[in-house]
């Protein structure tokens, strides 16, 4: 028992020494790692990060545990060490072996011999073997590392960090807002609009937006979505049809016909349903029996009204197709063709009625079948135009929504880059009292579409026409370019007045119009 307690004491003493060595190593590791990490950050202007100390601490603790675990002194090692240190000549090792053997005289002698020797030795005389210099160095390194934790970050870094944090918060806010906008937009979409906008793709792109502390990354994300939204919007463009409709409206307005004017008003107001109703009113009914003179006159009157409307609309379509043929590449087909087709059907119907009227005057038997077929054909053409107008309206609306979304995305980018206001703050600048911000976003036809667009509101220095601008004279000619511009404007006015006349053929009108547009474009360039 005495031997075992002696070995325990030796083992404890050796483990103490090992612990001191391990602590020294751990301290060195902690100090070195923490200082290196802290220095890397401090040299870049940052404060020493807390995780650096955590890493240093973890590594040092790991090293401490590993050293203690792998090099811990066992009882066998302690026995051998005691033999060597106290010059016991393997007395302890042999005694431990003999303890397990059957008692013999020699064993007893050995035990006595060892006990006598052990009385003269003390385990505390085993030196705690560790490097004082290294321990001091570890302590100094640790203190240095701790001192470095008090070094503050530079102003530049503080502002950069604040900026990153602000960008993160702003991007988070912007992402949430844009997601809300898209969600609201999706809820508000009509069936027709839903077919025009690939909402799944759009929603996924918006959901993929992630808040980030880096401005460029955030901008890139928003720009990617905006670009896609613009592409979608561009795909919804229907310039040809819109121009055709515009021309048709103009033509209808010129007409003295009441129905044509009403239709023009409805189309101008984009009240497609009313316009469809108005067109339906123009549709003649099928006839099956001979008509009286009065009835025939009414029918003729109705067809004249119908013809007036269809002729005006077809004239507008033709004018547009002529301008597009001489200008940019024509799109072909579309609303213009359908309006022209409707006019053709109306013209045939009118001629057919004239034939029937002559037959009636000659007291010939009237066959209404071809007339009814033509009526049916005209009705179909009319329905086609109506459907086309409705589809146009849906596409316009969808495009408007996408444009609005693009604008919102752009605004979000500006907001993240600290150049604009958030979507929530936008209405404050000009919304009428009582209007909520969601209303503004919900209503694509807001009267204050420029709200939030500070660049537009404020104006940019050097951009846009100035009253004080002095136009430069063309060198060598002695004639001011301003005079040429004024002359061209006069010609333009005269020709516009000229082409407003009714008796001028549509082709000529559109040709002249295109000519001056070209001149105007050249001047602008």
């Amino acid at each position: 028992m005495k031997l075992e307690s002696f070995i325990d004491r030796v083992s404890t003493r050796l483990n103490h020494a090992l612990l001191l060595r391990a602590l020294t190593v751990a301290g060195l590791i902690f100090g070195s790692v923490s200082i290196v990490i802290a220095l890397v950050y401090i040299c870049r202007g940052y404060a020493a990060p807390g995780w650096g100390y955590l890493v240093g601490g973890s590594l040092s603790l790991g090293a401490l545990a590993m050293v203690v675990w792998r090099q811990r002194v066992t009882r066998d090692q302690a026995a051998r060490y005691a033999d060597q240190f106290f010059d016991l000549k393997d007395g302890v090792v042999s005694a431990r072996f003999l303890t397990g053997e059957k008692g013999s005289a020699m064993q007893e002698l050995q035990r006595k011999w060892l006990e006598t020797r052990l009385q003269a030795v003390d385990a505390r005389s085993i030196p705690l073997d560790f490097s004082r210099k290294l321990a001091t160095l570890a302590l100094i390194l640790g203190l240095c590392a701790m001192t470095m934790s008090f070094v503050p970050a530079s102003e530049r870094v503080v502002s950069a960090l604040a900026d990153e944090q602000a960008t993160l918060e702003r991007s988070q806010e912007a992402v949430e807002q844009i997601q809300e906008v898209v969600s609201e937009m999706e809820n508000d979409l009509s069936e027709d609009e839903r077919q025009e906008i690939p909402m799944d793709e759009l929603r996924k792109m918006v959901e993929d937006l992630k808040p980030h502390k880096d401005r460029s990354t955030v901008s890139r994300q928003f720009a990617r979505v905006e670009q896609r939204a613009r592409e979608m919007s561009k795909q919804l463009e229907q310039k040809q049809d819109e121009q055709s409709l515009e021309e048709a409206i103009k033509e209808l307005k010129k007409s003295s016909n009441k129905q044509a004017k009403k239709l023009a008003d409805q189309l101008e107001k984009s009240d497609i349903k009313a316009a469809q109703k108005e067109l339906n009113k123009l549709k003649p009914k099928e006839q099956s029996k001979p008509l009286s003179k009065k009835e025939m006159a009414e029918l003729r009157k109705k067809l004249e009204n119908l013809r007036e409307v269809s002729k005006r609309m077809a004239a507008g379509a033709r004018a547009n197709s002529a301008s597009s043929a001489s200008g940019a590449a024509g799109q072909g087909g579309g609303l213009g063709d359908e309006m022209a087709g409707m006019d053709l059907d109306a013209q045939q119907l009118e001629e057919m009625l004239k034939q029937l009227e002559l037959s009636q005057m000659r007291n010939e038997k009237i066959d209404w079948t071809p007339y009814n077929e033509q009526v049916c054909k005209f009705c179909k053409s009319c329905d086609k135009v109506g459907c086309r107008l409705q589809a146009m309206k849906a596409r316009q609306s969808a495009q408007c929504r996408l444009n609005k979304l693009c604008k919102n995305l752009s605004q979000c980018q500006n907001y993240c880059n600290k150049k604009g206001q958030s979507l929530c703050l936008s209405p404050v600048s000009g919304m009428k009292p009582g209007s909520a911000s969601t209303d503004q976003r919900k209503d694509p036809g807001d009267e204050l579409q420029a709200n939030g667009d500070l660049q537009q509101l404020k104006g940019q220095k050097g951009a846009g026409p100035s009253l004080s601008k002095v136009e430069e004279a063309e060198s060598g000619t002695g004639v001011s370019s301003n005079r040429i511009t004024a002359k061209a404007r006069d010609y333009s006015r005269q020709m516009e007045a000229f082409i407003e006349r009714d008796n001028v053929p549509e082709e000529l009108k559109s040709g002249v119009k295109e000519y001056f547009k070209t001149i105007h474009n050249t001047e602008m360039q």
Binding site: R80, K89, D90, G91, V93, S94, S104, M106, W113
Partner: protein
């Protein structure tokens, strides 16, 4: 047991002291010779002429008061000259062959300059050294107990000598190299032997004492760790071992046999008892390693050519073994 241990130490010290009266210096040699005698082993003494090899053996025989014989080995010595032979004698009117014992029938045999005899004669000692018997004409004769052979050989006069075969070398417990005495020892030798009176060695122990001491030795315990060290040391002399020392692999042809381990253990036990301990320590093994291993390691041709000393190799092995 304590009394036996005390008897061992006392007897050993007495014999050592008595021999030291005549032999000046050479304390280590005296101790090693006595240890090998206690362990029942034979000793090969190697040294230049005149360093006291024969005197040492003479002194020990006198101190132990055992039957001592000496054979001067020469090239013409025959095995029968060593073991004995049958002679024709008249006995009751009849003539019959009778075994005439050779000088080997003694307790302590000094085989002086053993390497001068032919291998045949050298081999005559093999059975006697190992089995402690001698066979002549198919009759085996038991040698007296204790029986020790103290052989000497001269390392410098190699002409006309026959190196001992490995088998015979392995039968020697220790090979001791007797060196020249130091200045003071030399001075003292002249003082002691140059006068009218030469110191006389008196008998202080007997053959029975030696046998008793040998029995006491066997009681000394050996811890497994120390035993493991001993095995590692002996195995370390073999070049075939994977963890053999580089020098051993390069310069050694054959390592020590298990008999070397037995000899080292016995000698280490004696060393422990002499040190006042009752267990064998690593130090004891290290202390007898050179004597027990140096003649059992056979150097390779390269080792011989390089003039490598087996003692140096053994020291390298000792330092390379982890304990």
């Amino acid at each position: 047991m304590e009394a036996l241990a005390e008897h061992f130490r006392e007897t050993f010290t007495k014999v050592q002291g008595e021999v030291s009266r005549f032999i000046v210096g050479q304390n280590d040699i005296i101790e090693d010779v006595l240890i090998s005698i206690c362990c029942g082993g034979h000793v090969l003494l190697e040294g230049v002429p005149g360093v006291g090899k024969t005197s040492l053996v003479n002194s020990i025989s006198q101190a132990l008061s055992v039957d001592f014989k000496r054979i001067q080995f020469t090239p013409d010595l025959l095995p029968s000259d060593v073991i004995g032979t049958q002679v024709l004698v008249d006995k009751d009117g009849r003539r019959e062959l009778e075994f005439q014992a050779g000088p080997i029938f003694c307790n302590l045999l000094l085989a002086d300059e053993i390497n001068r005899a032919t291998p045949k004669t050298q081999s005559a000692l093999l059975e006697s050294m190992q089995e402690k018997t001698a066979t002549v004409a198919n009759v085996t004769h038991q040698l007296p107990s204790p029986f020790f052979v103290m052989a000497t050989q001269n390392p410098i006069e190699n002409d006309g000598t026959y190196p001992l075969p490995e088998a015979q070398l392995d039968r020697f417990f220790f090979k001791l190299e007797v060196g020249l005495p130091s200045h003071d020892d030399f001075f003292e030798i002249l003082n002691r032997t140059g006068g009218k009176q030469v110191p006389q060695v008196e008998a202080v122990a007997s053959g029975e004492d030696v046998i008793k001491m040998g029995e006491t030795l066997r009681e000394v315990p050996l811890a497994p760790e120390v035993q493991s060290y001993l095995v590692k040391l002996v195995r370390g002399t073999h070049p075939e071992g994977e963890d053999a020392h580089a020098d051993v692999k390069q310069f050694v042809r054959n390592g020590a046999s298990p008999r070397a381990g037995q000899a080292m253990l016995a000698a280490a036990r004696a060393k422990a008892l002499l040190d006042g301990r009752f267990h064998v320590a690593k130090e004891d093994i290290d202390a007898v390693a050179l004597q027990a291993l140096r003649h059992r390691m056979i150097l390779s041709f390269e080792g011989e050519a390089e003039g490598v000393k087996t003692d140096q190799l053994i020291k390298s092995i000792i330092s390379s073994i982890q304990y």
